[in-house]
């Protein structure tokens, strides 16, 4: 078992953002997390990644309890993540950004440099090593974040809104890259997405959240048909449309 979340609760001053969430994640699986805005997806992510201390419940990673651990220790344990709003080190070059990820596992600059080069190759960013992130388009910046996370050699990779702000073509490319890396590095993926299309193509299984609650889980195609999911998730969209 890669990740186990048991009865996770997170409150912000009385406001319940995650209420009694439980789920499991198998080695090598691709799990999607979907739900409308404000459903508590990011909170759940942040609880696992150590940005928030859960109010209650347990998080186990490979059988080890990591509940409430600070994020750098969670990262060392083997959980890497990307951010919804991009958090790239703007004053460092693309290569250096990825190197910093690699330094998570090595103290040797040469090894880090080599690994960063390999990952950037994989990402199709090998020509931009010396560039500064701000000089590149959004899609490339997303890839830098991804590359940086992968450089920490994670077992579990958590992707927060990877496709936000990308056009369909770019999304497709990212999906290809992800699948390639997943194969190569035997990664387990946990991704949250506001846009359904992305999750549905990539995930083997999805969890649906609404108003802080987990309402259902199952294979994408199955889940998408469920009444309550359409109501909670798509309902919002239709409501907005009208």
């Amino acid at each position: 078992m890669m990740l186990e979340v048991k009865n996770l609760v997170k409150e912000f001053g009385g406001l319940v953002a995650n209420a009694d969430i439980s789920f499991e994640l198998q080695q090598g699986e691709v799990l999607g997390l979907i739900g409308p805005n404000g459903a508590g997806k990011s909170t759940l992510f942040n609880c696992i990644a150590g940005y928030y201390k859960p109010t209650g419940g347990q998080i186990l990673f490979e059988g080890k309890e990591i509940t409430g651990w600070p994020s750098h220790l969670v990262a060392r344990e083997g959980i890497a993540r990307t951010f919804q709003g991009m958090k790239i080190m703007a004053n460092l070059t693309v290569g250096e950004n990825v190197m910093i990820g690699a330094f998570c596992r090595t103290g040797d600059r040469r090894i880090a440099l080599k690994e960063a080069g390999e990952i950037l190759d994989l990402m199709g960013l090998d020509g931009e090593t010396e560039a500064y992130p701000a000089e590149l388009p959004i899609a490339s910046q997303k890839r830098i974040e991804l590359a940086r996370a992968i450089a920490t050699k994670p077992k579990l990779l958590m992707l927060d809104e990877m496709a936000a702000g990308l056009n369909p073509l770019e999304t497709k490319e990212i999906i290809q890259i992800l699948q390639r890396i997943k194969e190569q590095r035997q990664l387990t993926l946990f991704l949250t997405e506001h846009v359904m299309e992305f999750v549905m193509t990539v995930s083997q299984r999805v969890i649906v959240m609404s108003a802080g609650q987990k309402i259902t889980e199952g294979p994408p195609a199955e889940v998408a048909r469920q009444e309550k999911v359409i109501e909670a998730y798509l309902g919002e969209r239709y409501a907005k449309g009208r």
């Binding site: 994020s71 958090k87 250096e96 998570c104 600059r109 920490t152």
Partner: protein, 333 residues
């Protein structure tokens, strides 16, 4: 081992014009005392190297680390006092006193760093300023440090390498040059090391840094302590160079600010920034002061100095190095 040496001495990753510039710079400082015979010119050069050294240390926390520390003078003070007091009390040779000064500076920085790094931005800047001023007042208050009367190191005649006292500025020149180069090479290694990258990652984005396995607080504390150590070395030099120190001379607010300013002017977060900054501010200050300082109407020298500071802050907040980088980028395109 070989790798370490390469990391320390190699500037290979820098563009060619930087390497050439650096070589010319080294050449100039090496032959400087033989081409400039003016004592003031030599004194300016020594002070430039001293402030370039201070700048290198501050750059670690203020430039690479992005933490606006306005209290570096306290570390200079620790170094200076450790050296002066040990020489006066126990006649301990200079070289032994350097690690002691460094030790106290690091110890103090470590002790205040954890509470201090709970603060951010301006709160942090003012806290560093406060801590430094408290130390200054304590050194004035205490009798055992000589209080306000300061510490005077007895003059030794001739050339004395144990206590680093010389009757010629040339010795002091190579002495400070040695200390400066040591720190420059250290910084050259540091900026390429894991720690160096971590410090920069924390500066740019703390949350992202944490997600990459970096202990943010620890990294800041370490950077703060290393910067303190580097500052203390310069303080030790000041003690044997001026032979008299008092709290107003080695730990005033003005010194903290001047150190930060040199790095700012040169370009924070770049290895050449502190050197460029000191090369501009120190001669400017010293020549303007010597030239206009004793005029009937006072203050012109400071006004010119202030104007230059304001223009740089307004037009090029990334300092002179920012200008150089931009020009180069434009040309390479």
């Amino acid at each position: 081992m070989r790798q370490l040496l390469i990391d320390i001495f190699s500037f290979g990753d820098r563009p060619r014009f930087e390497k050439i510039g650096f070589l010319i710079f080294i050449l100039i400082v090496f032959i400087f005392p033989w081409i400039v015979t003016s004592a003031y010119g030599r004194a300016v050069m020594i002070k430039f190297l001293l402030f370039a050294l201070f700048g290198l240390g501050w750059n670690l926390i203020g430039g690479y680390g992005g933490q606006v520390d306005l209290g570096q003078a306290k570390n200079v003070g620790f170094g200076a006092y450790a050296t002066a007091l040990m020489i006066v009390w126990w006649k301990i040779p200079f070289w032994v006193t350097i690690p002691v000064g460094v030790f106290f500076a690091v110890l103090e920085s470590f002790a205040v760093a954890y509470p201090m790094f709970r603060l951010k931005g301006h709160y942090f800047a003012i806290a560093t300023l406060c801590v430094a001023l408290v130390w200054k007042e304590l050194f004035i208050f205490w009798d055992w440090t000589g209080g306000a009367r300061g510490v005077e190191i007895p003059i030794r005649t001739g050339v004395d390498f144990a206590y680093m006292q010389f009757n010629s500025a040339i010795y002091y020149h190579y002495f400070i040059l040695f200390l400066f180069l040591t720190q420059l090479l250290f910084m050259n290694w540091f900026r390429k090391s894991k720690m160096g990258y971590w410090v920069q990652a924390v500066r740019d984005n703390e949350e992202a840094a944490a997600s990459l396995g970096i202990n943010v607080t620890n990294t800041k504390v370490k950077a703060y302590c290393i910067a303190a150590a580097l500052g203390a070395v310069g303080g030790s030099f000041m003690a044997v160079y001026y032979l008299y120190i008092d709290p107003d001379a080695v730990m005033p607010l003005d010194l903290s600010i001047l150190i930060a300013m040199t790095v700012m002017v040169g370009g924070a977060g770049s290895i050449w920034g502190p050197i460029i900054g000191a090369a501009i501010l120190i001669p400017l200050d010293m020549y303007l002061g010597a030239w206009l300082g004793a005029q009937k109407r006072l203050g012109i020298d400071f006004m010119i100095y202030a104007m230059i500071m304001m223009v740089i802050a307004a037009k090029e907040p990334r300092g002179i190095w920012g200008i150089i980088e931009r020009v180069r980028k434009k040309r390479s395109r």
